[in-house]
């Protein structure tokens, strides 16, 4: 592993995209940044602009309107970009998989690097997923 990869792994900035979510995953993602779980000790920050992002967290079921937004965000992000699908809806569609407005799980729209299942996944599961992701080559 070279110096570039090392720096990339040590400083993952996260941009959070919530689809048509029930907000449980959003709350659990925010839990990871609270004092108890403190993701900043791994260098992970939540950023406000997609131009600064290294990781795109996607949660919630992606409906037809979200699909265009998600694609646009993916194309706007600077490129070594890791995509993480969080929650049952992001990974497979969950209970919305047969819905009329459902536009497919995240990996049918953009390439996904890590899946964190659960409804919602516990913060520990999210941290474990991010730590595994940090070990992966971009």
């Amino acid at each position: 592993m070279g110096f570039k990869d090392f720096c990339f792994r040590k400083s993952l900035w996260v941009f959070h995209f919530g689809g048509a979510s029930c907000n449980n995953c959003d709350i659990e993602i925010l839990d990871c940044l609270t004092p108890r779980h403190d993701l900043e000790r791994f260098g992970i920050l939540l950023v406000g602009s997609i131009r600064h992002a290294d990781v795109l967290l996607v949660n919630g079921s992606i409906n037809r309107r979200d699909r265009d937004r998600l694609l646009e965000l993916y194309h706007q992000a600077p490129k070594p970009l890791l995509v993480v699908a969080i929650g049952a809806c992001g990974c497979t569609g969950g209970i919305f998989a047969e819905g009329n407005t459902f536009a497919g799980p995240v990996d049918t729209i953009i390439p996904v690097d890590a899946y964190i299942p659960g409804c919602p996944p516990k913060p520990e599961a999210i941290i474990a997923g991010i730590a595994r992701l940090a070990g992966k080559k971009p």
Binding site: C7, K10, R41, G48, R51, D54, Q76, P78, P80
Partner: protein, 309 residues
């Protein structure tokens, strides 16, 4: 010539300021984390961030806007911060520049990063960046008068000397300026000015992550954003250093260097605590705060100086 290049790039120039500023940035983040009962990032985190942005990430140019200005603005910010830092740090390290009047040059060079952020964000053509830059313009207009008055007060206190060398020498032969009533007032105003210059939380409306999603920096990615980070690290180091030079005795020899480091850390600690314990104010409140209260404090200090207090 060679020694000047060494001064500019290595010590006390770009390299030294970047390393010191990065460490101070870690200190700031670590204190923030401890205030919030978190553990905080590792020591080298600012350098990981910088090298990741510089080496790994891709640069995206905005479609609407001027790419040349957009790309050159961060370099201008780094240049302005480095030049200002050079004029501040050379007298602080007792290296004589022989330049009488460098306080005014420092004042102008310190505005260069803010102006280049404004230029870059307007050149990006993003509406949120435009809102952020208009806020930054208003903020600059608010605090610059106070900052100039502080420098004028220090010049007056040192007996009409316009160079940092003499200001430091005057303090070292007598008492530090902060040891008087007017000095304390100037210090309070200077701390708030620095807070606004660095864009830390009570005055972070230009970037306002929650409402403008990084505002003036919204379109920057990759190496240009790394340059902006570098300029911010350097500013986080040289502005407390300027306060230490203007009001707190500068840096001596031997143990004096340790004292100066502690003074700079103390000023940064104060900035961090203010940042963590106050909410973001509206731009009108910030203007009123500087135009009325801070200017009033500095004018009182100037009057006190005229009476020799």
């Amino acid at each position: 010539m060679a020694v000047n290049i060494f001064y500019f790039f290595i010590f006390p120039g770009l390299l030294f300021m970047a390393v010191a500023g990065g460490l101070l940035s870690w200190f700031d983040r670590k204190i923030t984390a401890r205030v919030q009962f978190r553990q905080g990032p590792p020591l080298l985190q600012p350098f990981y961030d910088f090298f990741k942005l510089l080496l790994v990430k891709e640069t995206i140019l905005p479609r609407h806007g001027s790419p040349v200005v957009f790309m050159l603005a961060p370099l201008l910010a780094v240049f302005g911060a480095t030049m200002a830092g050079l004029f501040i740090l050379l007298p602080l390290f007792n290296i004589s520049t022989g330049f009488r009047g460098d306080l005014l040059v420092i004042f102008y060079l310190l505005t260069l990063p803010s102006f280049s952020y404004i230029l870059g964000s307007v050149a990006s053509g993003n509406p949120l960046a435009a809102v952020g830059s208009s806020r930054e313009i208003k903020l600059v207009i608010s605090y610059e008068l106070t900052f100039l008055l502080i420098i004028a007060a220090v010049i007056m206190k040192s007996g009409q000397h316009f160079d940092l060398d003499t200001v430091i020498a005057m303090q070292r032969s007598g008492t530090p300026f902060i040891g008087s009533v007017s000095g304390v007032l100037l210090f309070i105003a200077a701390v708030f000015c620095i807070q606004a210059k660095l864009g830390l939380v009570p005055f972070d409306m230009p970037e306002a992550e929650t409402e403008l999603s990084s505002g003036i920096y919204i379109e920057y990615s990759g190496p240009p954003y790394a340059m902006i980070k570098l300029a911010k690290y350097i500013m986080l180091f040289i502005l407390p250093a300027l306060v230490v030079a203007l009001l707190m005795n500068g840096m001596g020899q031997g143990a004096g260097i340790l004292w100066a480091v502690l003074k700079i850390l103390g000023v940064v600690l104060l900035l961090t605590l203010i940042r963590n314990t106050s909410p973001r104010v509206k731009i009108r409140q910030a203007s009123g705060f500087f135009f009325i209260w801070m200017n009033l404090i500095v004018v009182i200090a100037i009057v006190l100086i005229a009476f020799g207090l």
